[in-house]
């Protein structure tokens, strides 16, 4: 027994020695220690080294040197290590672990540098990476080399998942960084390797923004490269990654703030240079990235007193009114900060327009009822009393006395206008009003889609000047199920909303609506899976928390009911996507045909914006859209469609082909 614990202790010590080895460590010393233990602990040493090779790619050259030194002392060990890495590569490829496979491959190429194995072309030639093996060249070149065992790629399997095509994001070239060390060329291996190392630091520390910023700025090669430029490029590359960023957007926003705070002398300037470059490219920027750029920039400025060299952007105030505009919240503050030439960008005061307020509104049908409603609500009236007041309104849809119209548009107009007018003071006031009178909404709106669209239209009429309010109210209407996702989509694409179509808040609403739908489906999906697992008794692993233990097993009928709910939700989701894509196809086709007959160029701001938004829907919700891709290709994106529109669909399909 004693011997066993000794062995464990020695193994632990070896592991810790290998894991902690660094550039400045005594590699030769460690190699001697390991060599002495190879006979007894060979398996363990091989495993630790091969794990380090893929888990710590930033220390690749250290480990290859170490292996090289071991190989020089013990040729068989080197051979076994090469075999083990070859096996690792094969397994990684088979399991679709592409990143691991890439690291193994890179490790192999560096093993060549350390004279452990042979490849056809030898030696990377670059100058930035620490190369501890150079110092040991005399030892290493004496060693015998191994042949890498032949690698056969595993065959493709239908279940394999491949990474999405990936855009290498580059913003700067060496002329952008005039002072200090030279930026490695765009195609050089060192640029790629340094970037990857920086990405790995972001990955490792993304939960701790301050630490993350500190580690990035303390990059080991900081004196050999223009570090700030490379960091900004890497962080923005993650923020603009398609289809979506690796982490939540604000993670990058807060990281950039920390970087600026830690390095106030240089970081803000480099970031400003990046913003200028991006600003110049707004016209051709992918719409997903445009949104993220706008959102981040507003956030960033709000953390630095909105200080910016606004004068440099003056020419943008002369742009086409259809041109996409940056959104900056805090209207009042912005109006004070920016030069007056920007006044055209400052939105009107976010005040409500209550159509029954004016003296000349008394002619409007329902004006009297609206005023009565106001006093009912003000004197804390109930839903019943509100419905009573609304009950007296004649229905203009009624044609004869035999059929009841599905809803009364005047009732909806009066009620929505009055309730939003009374709750105009803040979001909380508006929400409280809506929640209090849910029964009224249920009764006068119900499931009728036209009635629901009318609610949205009245809301828009009241709050036309307050975009954030509209975004929040649509959210509230959806959550309280006053309107359905499909109604929101149909409203957005309706004729009255066309002038709003290029404004950002419209797209905020659409994406939030789709996201809500997706979350709903996801939640039901999870419920079904969980219930299934509990039914078959797979919950025996007691990792689940204590408050979950007493849940009874669901019956087969309960599960069936859950599945029915899920199917209904999926049908809604599919319907939502069909509506949105069909509407896109309609307005885009109409535009293309009209331009063709008029002999005009179709490639207008409106067109680029709209097709960009179509691409964005595919991109942002690609996992969900994917499920309906077959239906979409047979029903909507058919071969007779204009190629410009079809192309958006084809690009989406290409993500996974």
């Amino acid at each position: 027994k004693r011997r066993r614990t000794d062995a464990v202790e020695i193994e632990d010590r070896l592991e810790s020695l290998i894991l902690r080895v660094g550039e400045k460590s005594n590699l030769e010393g460690l190699a001697s220690v390991l060599e002495a233990d190879i006979n007894n602990y060979k398996g363990k040493i091989l495993k630790i080294l091969s794990d380090c090779a893929v888990k710590m790619p930033e220390k690749t050259t250290i480990y290859t040197t170490l292996v090289g030194l071991l190989n020089a002392k013990n040729y068989n060990f080197g051979g076994e290590f090469v075999d083990m890495m070859a096996k690792k590569l094969k397994e990684a490829l088979k399991a679709c672990m592409w990143k691991t496979a890439r690291y193994v491959l890179r490790f192999f190429s560096d093993l060549v540098n350390c004279h452990i194995c042979k490849l056809r072309s030898d030696m990377w030639q670059e100058k930035h990476i620490a190369r501890p093996y150079v110092a040991f060249d005399s030892i290493l070149c004496e060693a015998l080399q191994h042949n890498i065992p032949p690698l056969t790629l595993p065959p493709h399997h239908a279940d394999n998942t491949y990474p999405f095509p990936w855009v290498v994001f580059r913003l700067f070239d060496y002329t952008d960084c005039p002072e200090g060390p030279v930026l490695p060329g765009a195609h050089s291996i060192e640029r790629y390797l340094i970037e990857e190392h920086l990405h790995n630091i972001v990955k490792e520390y993304h939960l701790e923004r301050k630490q993350c910023a500190a580690f990035l700025l303390d990059f080991p090669l900081k004196h050999k490269i223009p570090l700030e430029y490379m960091i900004v490029e890497v962080v923005l590359a993650e923020l603009f990654h398609l289809p979506g960023p690796r982490y939540i957007e604000i993670c990058y926003g807060s990281l950039l703030i920390e970087l600026c705070k830690l390095q106030p002398a240089t970081m803000p300037q480099v970031l400003a240079q990046a913003v200028e470059l991006l600003f110049d490219r707004i016209d051709t920027m992918n719409v997903c990235c445009f949104d993220r750029f706008v959102n981040w920039f507003g956030y960033h400025l709000s953390n630095f007193q909105f200080k910016w060299s606004w004068d440099d952007w003056l020419e943008s105030s002369q742009l086409d009114p259809m041109h996409p505009r940056a959104k900056l919240s805090y209207r009042q503050r912005i109006a004070e900060v920016v030069p007056e030439q920007f006044d055209c960008f400052v939105p009107p005061k976010p005040e409500p327009v209550y159509k029954y307020a004016n003296a000349d509104a008394s002619d409007l049908p329902g004006a009297d009822t609206a005023h009565r409603l106001e006093s009912v609500v003000r004197s804390k009236g109930t839903s019943v009393e509100v419905l009573q007041a609304l009950g007296e309104l004649p229905n203009p849809l009624r044609e004869n006395d035999e059929t009841d119209p599905p809803y009364n548009p005047v009732q909806i107009q009066v009620f929505v206008q009055a309730i939003l007018h009374l709750g105009a003071k803040s979001f909380s006031h508006a929400f409280a009003g809506i929640s209090k009178f849910l029964k009224v909404f249920e009764s006068i709106v119900g499931n009728n889609e036209e009635a629901q669209i009318l609610v949205l239209r009245e809301m828009h009429e009241v709050w036309d000047h307050h975009q954030q309010m509209m975004v929040m109210l649509v959210d509230k209407f959806l959550r309280t199920q006053i309107v359905s996702c499909a109604s929101v989509a149909n409203w957005i694409f309706s004729k009255e909303m066309m002038p709003e179509f290029t404004k950002n808040y419209i797209w905020e609403i659409i994406h939030a609506t789709i996201r809500k739908m997706n979350k709903h489906v996801g939640r039901l999906q999870k419920e079904v899976t969980d219930a299934r697992e509990r039914r078959t008794g797979n919950d025996s692993d007691d990792s689940s928390s204590e408050d979950e233990e007493q849940r009874p097993r669901p019956s087969e009928e309960e599960i069936e009911r859950m599945e029915e709910k899920l199917e209904a939700a999926q049908a809604d989701q599919k319907n939502l996507f069909l509506i949105i894509f069909q509407r896109f196809i309609m307005i885009l086709s109409e535009h293309l045909v009209r331009c063709d007959t008029d002999g005009r160029d179709f490639n207008t701001h409106w067109y680029r914006w709209t097709i960009g938004r179509l691409h964005q829907i595919f991109m942002m919700h690609n996992t969900q859209v994917e499920r309906y891709s077959q239906t979409l290709s047979t029903l909507l994106f058919t071969q007779d469609l204009d190629l410009h529109i079809l192309d958006a669909f084809n690009q989406f399909v290409a993500l996974r082909s």
């Binding site: 939540i248 926003g253 807060s254 959102n295 979001f427």
Partner: protein, 101 residues
């Protein structure tokens, strides 16, 4: 009891937010805190007597994960030029919005 309180804090999705400017609006709060996730509601802290904002609020998220994002990325950054402080809160109870006047 203390363990109950700790258990509540581990599971809560509500945050207490302090050091706000008295002039910061609900609009600004939703705009900023919405960046960390889906906000269920925001309750403004009010002066007991004047019923005006008095520098704090409660932000409740729909999920614990979102509130963790807020603790990670918004705590210690600026809103209206002030460094906001966020802290776990066991959950908003009516009446707690009234600060000392």
């Amino acid at each position: 009891s203390r363990t109950d309180q700790e258990r509540l804090l581990r599971g809560t999705s509500t945050l207490y937010v302090g050091n706000l400017s008295f002039y910061t609006t609900e609009e600004q709060l939703y705009e900023l805190f919405g960046r960390a996730g889906d906000v269920k509601r925001i309750v403004m802290g009010l002066d007991k007597f004047r019923k005006t904002p008095c520098g704090f609020c409660f932000v409740e998220y729909f999920s614990r994960d979102d509130s963790e994002m807020c603790m990670r990325y918004i705590n210690g950054t600026r809103l209206d030029d002030r460094i906001v402080r966020t802290d776990w809160d066991a959950g908003f109870i009516e009446g707690r919005q009234y600060g000392r006047g």
